[in-house]
Symmetry: C2
């Protein structure tokens, strides 16, 4: 298993201004690749918080740390300084990073001057490699700390997604190898979560490696509704399929036995 | 300042299934009260992750820890067991908690039996006090650890909000005292974030306690757009108003000087 954690930086995430849709996107992307986020730690724009947050995550020796937010030109964009402090390295101005900024601005028809704000975005923790941002100004940064690879990405969603897709994803996939995923989401009616719980517990005992989760969706016209997720991930396609088939048949039968029914299902078997 | 942190529990938050709207809601609610979330740590449904996550947050000695998710009847709802492990206390069956479950079920016209799933929801870490859930089955739980108060709330948003509003909010407000908040969100056009950055840095130096943040919103018809937030919180109403007025006038003037304009603003001065 490849371990990936996310350090989300930004006061706007902590004061009800912005929902953390980046963590949702990264988690979903990793899950479809056959792994997941182990943790997300959200901290405010402060050097202490960024550096201590990074070190808390690194202490668990993850394969990858995805740092999101705080790469922009404003004074509260202090992620790279916080990362440098956390790693105990100096910041240094990076000509290649400034070149990426220049190329981006010229590609969208803007003139380039090496303003202090732009030089700030090109000032990286020592050892950092700038990563091209195709849809915005601030480059991403790749760093290493021990056996962990750190990707710093902008918080603007489309910029984050661009750099994640072009750089982080490939490296995570290479480490992960080919993974096979079979899964279903069933919409159930006429059954309470508490009634299905013992059957889910049994299914867990059969295959502790599977992801099986029910989500209560309230009463609809007096009838209880639930969603049930079953996901099986394996390096072996036949194993993912067989485990998935066993669990989905077992739980479907139990739902029927308990008087519930499957209103619809969205299935993907590979 | 009252410090509040959030431990969010649930694999669905880490695999792209569910966006963490609870953290958004809690952060916004606290911010309107005059404080904020210091951190959000999201972990998966695992005893090790819940207990170590709790202890990492407690090591910072927050006034309040809001734990959200994993109080339901299914086997992957293991938050209370994880919290007990983290605090080094035993779990014990709580008659008062089972009574709350019974009262809730009867209030919605369902019959009550003390099933294993319901007894599980009434099994609390030693020292825990059950909190009535007016809109769902699983009670919340209040605990203390050193000088920190821990509230465990269900992950279903309306249940979380119900218990937060009825129990956690009052206790946080009491600790906080009366706070006064003046704030604005301005929509700016014709100005790049990088151009405004030095002025924001100056404003920060004038009042480091204020929250001043720009959010780039891309080009609209070739013209750059930005949002600018200014928020000032103080125990003294006059101070909040005066600081707010100074910052908002200073930055509005700078926007005009730099050739930008304020397309609209949403202001709240108290």
């Amino acid at each position: 298993m490849v371990s990936v954690v996310n350090l989300a930086v930004g006061k706007e995430l902590l004061i009800g201004r912005t929902v953390n849709s980046n963590a949702l996107w990264i988690g979903g992307r990793l899950y479809r690749m056959g792994t997941m986020l182990d943790r997300v730690l959200t901290v405010t724009d402060s050097l202490d918080e960024i550096s201590s947050g990074l070190n808390e995550l690194l202490s668990r020796r993850p394969d990858f740390v995805i740092v999101v937010g705080g790469l922009g030109p404003t004074p509260d964009d202090m992620t790279l300084k916080g990362i440098a402090r956390g790693l105990g390295v100096r910041l240094r101005f990076d000509e290649a990073a400034l070149r990426l900024i220049k190329e981006h601005l010229e590609s969208v028809g803007r003139t380039f001057e090496a303003t202090p704000a732009r030089k700030k975005m090109a000032t990286l923790p020592e050892g950092g490699v700038p990563l091209a941002n195709q849809v915005g100004t601030a480059p991403g940064v790749r760093l290493t700390a021990g056996s962990s690879v750190i990707f710093c990405l902008p918080g603007v969603p489309r910029e984050m997604r661009d750099i994640f897709s072009n750089f982080a994803e490939k490296e995570i996939r290479d480490k992960l190898g080919v993974m096979h995923i079979s899964k279903v989401t069933m919409k159930l009616t006429g059954i309470y979560e508490a009634s299905l719980a013992p059957s889910i517990a049994e299914a867990f005992k059969m295959h502790p490696e599977a992801y099986i989760k029910s989500h209560p969706r309230g009463l609809k016209g007096g009838v209880p509704t639930l969603e049930l997720d079953i996901t099986v991930v394996s390096k072996k396609a036949a194993k993912a399929r067989a485990t998935y088939a066993e669990l989905s048949e077992f739980l479907s039968r139990r739902v029927a036995d308990l008087g519930g029914s499957i209103a619809s299902k969205r299935e993907s078997v590979k």
